[in-house]
């Protein structure tokens, strides 16, 4: 095996992995419930997804193929560092191709391509407690989860509707999992929330600084909180991707010059590349420009 000399497989020692694995199994048995774990120091700073990295390290084996995305992209410094970390410490194969991956670690996005039963997605979570901004006390939020007492969140959402005409949450939009536990989906855009519902893949969540992990098994109900008179709606920029022409993907706005030029492109870079390879084009495609 081509792992770096002197390292434990996937960096963590075996006792730590067993501790995280036991917590993960309980997390799968209680979908959406946060479980404390003895988060370890990792050779990457908090904010680099140390919770997600520890979950991935506890799960990963030599047969896995790992993909790491940051805001949808495989090529950011963060994504490249994490991918290299596991290639070095676990000797696993890595990929940018969503369909070729068995484990996908992500920050801030869910791939556009629907995931399969034989895949696991690991989310990096900065704040696992969906009630943290409404109730600072850990003891109190734990009690609210125990009683499924989520009126405070409904009040907050309804205040938004009264004040703005809609719920003013565009990221980390709270979800109800398996009809029982209120859960923070991590800072993915609300656009991605519907992908979590009845997803075929196992979803695991790790928060390093807050020392919590949680999970959603495959084919589990994940409902974004809403009201009968104000149903949950996803929004996306009203444009087609400038590179591949997609009208249903989540878009990033890219400033192209200092004249205020803007380009909307798929945030999921693998999705965009796969579409372009299949011959799809957008308004800014080189071919399109040549034709003009």
């Amino acid at each position: 095996m081509s792992t770096m000399e002197g390292y434990n497989f996937a960096y963590l020692d075996e006792q730590t992995k067993r501790m995280i694995r036991r917590a993960l199994l309980k997390a799968v048995a209680i979908p959406g419930h946060q479980i404390p774990f003895g988060s370890r120091e990792m050779p990457l700073p908090y904010g680099w997804g140390t919770g997600g990295i520890q979950v991935t390290a506890a799960v990963l084996g030599p047969q896995d193929v790992l993909k790491v995305i940051d805001q949808g992209a495989d090529d950011t410094t963060n994504a490249v560092s994490i991918r290299r970390f596991f290639a070095r410490t676990a000797g696993v194969a890595t990929t940018t191709d969503t369909s070729a991956a068995s484990v996908i670690q992500t920050r801030h996005r869910i791939p556009e391509k629907p995931l399969r039963e034989d895949q696991i997605i690991v989310y990096q979570v900065p704040q696992p407690e969906p009630l943290s901004r409404l109730e600072p006390s850990r003891a109190e939020t734990r009690r609210m989860h125990a009683l499924a007492e989520y009126g405070l969140m409904h009040v907050k959402l309804y205040e938004d509707i009264t004040r703005f005409g809609h719920v003013a949450i565009s990221y980390d939009y709270p979800v109800m999992v398996n009809g029982r536990h209120l859960m923070a989906p991590s800072p993915i855009p609300a656009f991605d929330n519907p992908k979590m519902h009845q997803m075929a893949a196992l979803q695991l969540f790790g928060a390093g600084r807050e020392k919590r992990l949680y999970a959603i098994p495959p084919y589990t109900s994940v409902v974004s909180l809403d009201f009968d008179d104000h149903p949950f709606r996803t929004t996306r920029a009203p444009h087609a991707c400038g590179l591949c022409g997609a009208t249903d993907s989540y878009l990033d706005e890219v400033v192209t010059d200092d004249q205020g030029g803007r380009l909307y492109v798929c945030s999921d870079t693998d999705h965009c590349e796969t579409r372009r390879e299949a011959g799809h084009t957008g308004s800014e495609s080189p071919l399109q420009e040549a034709a003009q």
């Binding site: 694995r21 036991r22 209680i30």
Partner: protein, 192 residues
């Protein structure tokens, strides 16, 4: 009576533990699905390879384990390779048995700390044959048939009582030979 300490654990403690964990993770993620575990293990005669693999992968000095009387011949091997704190059935984090214990008498956790609830590792005669049940719940796209040889005749009723405690409740890992399956507390079990 052999203590079993002369019998080895995992040939590759790191990779074999990972592989056994993934089998249990997949089993809990899809209740009733059957997975290989413990290939190549030569545990004491009273333990199936899958049972031994689950113990080696999950049980250690940070956990407590209750061992049912019929599996006591394996206690020496478990102490040597896993080293758990031995606890009574009512307090243990893991309960190892061949006959389903009274689930209500185990630690079912609390509403605030439901994850404290015990995991029962139950060694049964066979998976995929025997009494048939219909499973539904998280992990299952559609209600699914599951057959086990080795559960009590009133299992569905006993599980329904366990399910009623949710989010408290016992999680069950079933082992037979070199295969395992699992029933998380979230699953509902019907007869037939």
């Amino acid at each position: 009576m052999t203590t079993g300490t002369d019998l080895p654990g995992f040939a590759d403690p790191v990779l074999d533990a990972q592989s056994a964990f993934r089998a249990v993770l997949a089993a809990l993620s899809c209740p009733g699905s059957i997975h290989d575990a413990g290939a190549g293990l030569t545990p004491p005669a009273s333990l199936a390879p899958a049972t031994a693999a689950v113990l080696l992968a999950l049980v250690d000095g940070e956990t407590s384990l209750a061992i049912a009387p019929t599996l006591q011949p394996a206690a020496g091997w478990i102490a040597f390779h896993c080293g758990p704190e031995i606890a009574t059935t009512t307090l243990a984090g893991f309960v190892l048995a061949e006959a389903l214990p009274n689930l209500a008498a185990l630690d079912t956790g609390s509403d605030e700390v439901p994850e404290r609830a015990a995991t029962v590792i139950l060694q049964v005669a066979a998976l995929g044959s025997g009494a048939s049940y219909t499973l539904a719940g998280p992990g299952l796209q559609h209600p699914t048939k599951f057959a086990v040889n080795g559960l009590p005749v009133d299992f569905a009723a006993r599980w329904t009582a366990n399910r009623a405690l949710y989010p408290r409740g016992i999680d069950l890992i079933l082992c037979a030979g070199g295969r395992l399956a699992a029933l998380p507390r979230s699953v509902t079990v019907g007869e037939g």
